[in-house]
């Protein structure tokens, strides 16, 4: 079991008194090499779940086992290390560093686990080759198209060989043709053995996955396989 969520609750306190439950009780198991899409209307708790899965946030209650370790009660710094080791993020807005070139952007996660400079460059190049950007390594984000930027972001997510690739609306800022190209990359990565968790509100994007988890009002509404 790669991801095991047991009775995860997330309650936001507004103004110290009003309590708003974003996740009421989530039970979820995701195995290795699964390709899962998480869907739901806004306010369904999709983003909250995504943040918890990505160890950017912790649950108010419940147990989250990620790749064998309990991340429910970890400190900020421990979570940072887990994110670095276990999770590769792909964001809707790419979130590349504007002043750094593609290669350096991909190197970033490796800086935080103390990989030496030469080893970093080697791994970053390999990751960029995997997404077909070997010839754009020296380009800065503003010299790249939207699709190319997202590929850099995917390379960055891959570079540290994480357990999960967590993609949050990865095609949201792309036209449909480029979006399809990005989805093809995810498929290739899935075929190569990666575990992918995709958050989207687009049905046709979700259909690329093998399994769709639908949230509504902080609960899993439906959890079904895609044929």
């Amino acid at each position: 079991m790669l991801i095991d969520l047991k009775d995860i609750k997330k309650i936001y306190e507004i103004g110290g008194t009003v309590k708003v439950p974003a996740l009421k009780s989530i039970n979820l198991v995701i195995g290795k090499n699964e390709y899962v899409a998480i869907m739901g209307p806004s306010g369904s708790g999709k983003s909250t779940l995504m943040n918890i899965l990505g160890c950017l946030d912790t649950a108010s209650e419940g147990i989250y086992m990620l790749n064998g370790s309990n991340v429910s009660d970890m400190t900020d710094d421990e979570l940072a290390e887990i994110r670095n080791r276990e999770i590769g993020f792909v964001f809707q807005t790419f979130n590349l560093l504007p002043r750094a070139n593609a290669l350096h952007n991909v190197e970033l996660p490796l800086i935080y686990n103390g990989t030496s400079s030469t080893q970093r460059k080697k791994q970053a190049k390999e990751a960029l080759e995997k997404v077909g950007l070997a010839d754009r390594m020296d380009h800065k984000p503003n010299e790249l198209s939207g699709g190319q930027r997202q590929r850099v972001a995917i390379a960055r997510a891959l570079v540290n060989n994480p357990s999960i690739i967590l993609a949050d609306e990865p095609t949201g800022n792309l036209d449909s043709k480029t979006g399809e190209e990005i989805m093809e990359i995810f498929e290739t990565l899935h075929d190569a053995g990666n575990t992918i968790v995709l958050v989207t509100h687009e049905e046709y994007i979700a259909e690329h996955s093998d399994r769709i988890i639908r949230l509504r009002d902080g609960l899993v509404e439906r959890d079904e396989s895609v044929n």
């Binding site: 943040n51 994110r83 670095n84 979130n95 970033l108 800086i111 935080y112 400079s117």
Partner: protein
């Protein structure tokens, strides 16, 4: 290893960030530049003054005492007038002291007069004639370069001989051997027996325009009644200075016939008195340096803090990304602290360069040998760390505490 890699990376990030905002960074460092330039320049000037002062004062040995009618440092007119009424110190005290003192190595009475020295149409004006004895060689460290110094026999037999200072020798005997020649001082002829080595100046007075003659001859040639004799005493060793001062005070009080309870009517002067006064003066300079320096460094530091706060806000998203990718709180903290220190370093380096320039200029155009020494570099490093950390810690911790989710969402 991890920390080293991250440190190198942080320096790169910082320099990149600064390069992206060149003008802003330069303006930010300006405060630090001015502060560092001020402080280091003043330090260099003080050190220059110290060096110059020590060089001049070194002519007075640390193991030499001076029994005078007046103290060396008089701060008011009333003080001066009270000293003026003291009895003169007669020359024979020097001989008595020599007999009575067990801690003195050499005792030289001195009397002074400004005269013109002449030799065959050449003349040297404003020559300081010093009437003294053979011990003066030891007390004033006036070693002969040519010939010899005054001897005991010269003094005892009141021979009309003289020993020339280097400049007097140069003026009167530009191309010839002075030994055995007779020069005229105050209308009387003196046979040259030696030339003192070049000594330089003390507080603007050249010590090379002196001419020494036996004290008895001085008295008979230039008069004696209204003059008070200054007695120079070399002590057996510098550690005995305090003991010697006590012993000499006792001897002087006895010679003067002072009763217990009566004040001394003479002063025992020494080098350290000048040193103390000088240090009091330079302490004021130090205070000015520290005051001006800290104000401009404070202003500079606030400038840095301000720009870092702007930088943290501008780069909120970047911080979010870095945190999402595994940067821990202290990694972010370190990144911004290093950025702060990089700005400071640039300011300090430019400041030191300016200060070196000013010091060179001062050294070239004034007699103060202003110079910047190696420890200034350490002082600079100290500035960088102190200001960088002090003013960087707040913006940096603000950045470090950012919640990654909020930071990623920041527009």
């Amino acid at each position: 290893m991890r920390i080293l890699i991250y440190f190198v990376e942080s320096v790169k990030i910082a320099t990149n960030a600064l390069r992206s905002y060149k003008l802003r960074s330069i303006l930010t460092t300006l405060g630090i530049v001015i502060g560092v330039t001020t402080v280091i320049t003043i330090v260099a000037l003080i050190q220059g003054l110290n060096k110059s002062f020590e060089r001049q004062i070194s002519a007075i040995g640390t193991d030499t005492l001076f029994i005078d009618k007046y103290p060396w440092i008089i701060t008011s007119n009333t003080e001066f007038f009270s000293y003026r009424n003291r009895r003169n110190i007669p020359v024979n005290y020097a001989f008595r002291i020599k007999e009575l003192s067990s801690l003195s190595k050499a005792v030289a009475p001195t009397l002074y007069s400004r005269q013109t020295a002449k030799y065959k149409g050449r003349s040297s004006e404003g020559v300081l004639i010093i009437g003294t004895n053979a011990d003066y060689l030891v007390t004033s460290n006036t070693l002969p370069e040519i010939g010899r110094f005054l001897s005991d026999t010269d003094v005892e037999h009141r021979r009309s001989v003289c020993v020339l200072g280097w400049d007097v020798y140069q003026a009167l005997f530009p191309n010839s051997d002075p030994i055995g020649k007779k020069i005229k001082l105050g209308g009387k002829k003196f046979k040259v027996v030696g030339v003192i080595e070049k000594k330089g100046a003390m507080f603007g007075n050249s010590m090379d325009t002196n001419v020494c003659i036996p004290i008895g001859v001085f008295q008979s040639t230039f008069g004696v009644r209204w003059r008070s004799c200054d007695i120079e005493i070399k002590i057996n060793s510098p550690e005995l200075m305090d003991d010697a001062e006590i012993e000499l005070t006792g001897i002087m009080r006895r010679l003067r016939g002072l009763k217990p309870g009566e004040d001394n009517d003479f002063n025992i002067n020494k080098q350290s008195m000048l040193m103390d006064t000088y240090k009091r003066l330079t302490n004021t300079l130090w205070a000015v340096a520290i005051g001006v320096g800290s104000i401009s460094l404070l202003v500079g530091g606030i400038g840095i803090m301000n720009i870092l706060l702007v930088s943290v806000t501008e780069r909120t998203r970047e911080i979010g990304v870095r945190k999402a990718l595994g940067a821990r709180n202290h990694d972010v903290l370190l990144q911004f602290l290093i950025e702060s220190m990089v700005i400071c370093s640039i300011g300090v380096i430019i400041g030191i360069l300016f200060a070196i320039g000013i010091a060179k200029l001062v050294a070239a155009t004034t007699p103060i040998p202003a110079a910047i020494t190696l420890w200034v570099v350490f002082l600079g490093v100290g500035f960088v760390i102190t200001i960088g950390v002090f003013f960087g810690i707040y913006p940096a911790s603000k950045a470090a505490r950012l919640n990654p989710i909020d930071a990623l969402r920041y527009e």
